[in-house]
């Protein structure tokens, strides 16, 4: 990166460090922090969406829908995360490719399963073998988001289901007394009020999600843990311009600081959100705010 980096062997001290920390590999390491933050930014709304759909389905008066919602949250919450992340992703990928295979290659006569192999026609591959590397990365990221959203959506569904039931029944009855339909009462009265009841549970879930991001590594995405492990490992002079011993402690120390900062900021944001949502609510905190204001 810097001009003086052309001959690393002659460098010492700070200039060595400056060159070392700006190698292509380190740049990939720094970029992977962005990947993790992007993943969090995307899975928060998607898992809330999954959770909201699951909770609304579970509350439904149409019983097949209600069973579906309850089964989703019960099964997914019961399966160990690691099993989900190891096997579900491959299964999901194969399911997509199978559907494309049926649609795109109707003339294909060979079976899709041949012994141990899963073989679809070349046109059905996701992404195509000819696609550039970034498409493969983007697809892997998409699978990761979907898996995270399904897993954490199940937990969010349970939290939101509880929150919906926590809204005082009198609020709904009043809405109905004003002549609102079932749907109107749900969207105008129940949904705006449920968030304050859901927040402690959702906040908890968010913290677990932050901690779970290193699972990305299991999904074949080169995330911060992957790079920290690779960069921190012992490097011999034959294979690098910057040989060093086992530095994994420093790299994992940096990850520790990153995650603690992230959770600390999250705590602050959640506190502010709780105060905002309590305003005007029929809860103890909302009542205290009303009195303080009066």
């Amino acid at each position: 990166m810097f001009e003086f980096c052309t001959d690393p062997a002659s460098l010492e001290g700070l200039s060595w460090l400056a060159c070392y920390l700006t190698t292509g590999k380190h740049m990939a390491f720094y970029a992977s922090f962005g990947t993790v933050l992007l993943l969090l930014a995307v899975i928060l709304p998607t898992s809330l969406l999954f959770g909201f759909a699951g909770a609304s389905a579970a509350r439904s008066r149409f019983w097949p829908l209600s069973i579906l919602g309850k089964t989703y949250s019960a099964i997914v919450r019961g399966v160990p995360d690691i099993a989900f992340f190891l096997f579900f992703v491959i299964a999901l990928d194969q399911a997509f490719e199978y559907v494309r295979h049926r649609a795109l290659c109707p003339d294909w006569s060979e079976p899709v399963r041949q012994g141990n192999d899963f073989v679809v026609c070349t046109a059905a591959k996701l992404p195509l073998s000819t696609s550039p590397a970034w498409m493969h990365d983007a697809y892997a990221f998409f699978l990761a988001v979907l898996t995270f959203a399904i897993v954490y959506g199940a937990f969010a569904a349970q939290v939101l289901y509880g929150a919906m039931r926590a809204v005082p029944r009198a609020q709904i009855e009043t809405a109905e007394a004003y002549g609102m339909s079932h749907a109107q009462a749900f969207w105008r009265i129940l949904v705006p009020q449920m968030w304050i009841y859901a927040l402690p549970g959702l906040g908890n879930l968010w913290m677990i999600m932050v901690k779970a991001t290193p699972l990305l590594f299991l999904l074949g995405i080169q995330d911060i843990v992957y790079w920290a492990r690779d960069l921190g490992g012992t490097k011999q002079a034959r294979f690098t311009d910057y040989p060093h011993g086992d530095w994994r402690m420093y790299y994992f120390g940096a990850l520790l600081v990153f995650y603690l900062t992230l959770t600390w900021v999250s705590e602050k944001v959640l506190d502010r959100l709780t105060r905002r949502l309590s305003h005007g609510q029929a809860t103890a905190a909302g009542e205290a705010m009303r009195r303080a204001g009066a």
Partner: protein, 241 residues
């Protein structure tokens, strides 16, 4: 008009199929120098990078490199996420039940032990090996105490920290480590385990396997494979073919 669109679509399909056939995705671990590792720029380098690029050039294939964790390297191959495994994988009967191998591109070589001192008691101590390797299977078969790690790097740190007494791994991996670290020594004892190292392919992918088989044979005979082996110091060389 409809016919025209259909023809155009089928032409595009044929074209993309023909093109797609020519891109072969090569899966490797990227954490096992000198076989395969990531260089300072984050690109895959090592013996297998050089070998793979040469094989693809000779077979007139376009190849792309993919890094995949060792643990899931076989499941992702059979699931079609890449087309070959070229990652220092020894040919064993257990693996051959699941995937197909090309002919070996390095001869069977002994595995070696690395330890803090040269008088460790292997049978009574703890031996570390990477998960899913022939070395791990060997230690388990001996009835010794085995600790497994996901990456080769972790096995070495286990010896440095005293968690394990010795590491059993390919000699070519351990030699540069012992050369640069005064605290670690290679034991005189070596084990002759496993077959040579070959490329792994899906069992249904006969055509590609034959292509690679042919070019590996070609490189064996003209001496270029031996030259690569010596350049990276990964194994012993092949005799005349």
């Amino acid at each position: 008009m409809n016919k025209l669109i259909l023809t155009a679509a089928s032409l595009a399909l044929v074209a993309s199929t023909a093109m797609a056939q020519d891109v072969v995705r090569m899966g490797t671990e990227g954490a096992y120098p000198p076989w395969n590792y990531l260089d300072d720029d984050g690109n895959i380098a090592g013996f297998e990078r050089d070998l793979g690029d040469e094989l693809c050039a000779r077979a007139e294939l376009t190849c792309e490199w993919v890094v995949n964790d060792w643990d899931s390297i076989i499941p992702n191959l059979v699931s079609g996420n890449y087309d070959t495994i070229i990652a220092g994988m020894s040919i064993t009967p257990e693996r051959a039940e699941v995937i197909a191998f090309t002919q070996e591109y390095t001869p069977p070589d002994p595995s070696a032990y690395i330890a803090l001192t040269d008088d460790v008691d292997l049978a009574g101590g703890v031996v570390a090996a990477q998960t899913g390797t022939i070395q791990a299977a060997f230690v388990a078969d001996q009835g010794w105490t085995l600790v497994e790690f996901a990456t080769p790097e972790e096995t070495i740190s286990a010896v440095r920290s005293g968690e394990a007494d010795a590491v059993l791994a390919d000699k070519s991996y351990l030699e540069p480590i012992a050369a640069e670290d005064d605290g670690l020594v290679l034991l005189a004892r070596e084990e002759q385990i496993g077959g040579g190292v070959g490329m792994g392919l899906r069992q249904s992918d006969d055509e590609l396997r034959e292509t690679f088989d042919a070019v590996i044979g070609e490189m064996k005979c003209d001496g270029s494979l031996n030259a690569l082996i010596e350049k990276w110091d990964v194994a012993s060389t092949f005799g005349d073919c």
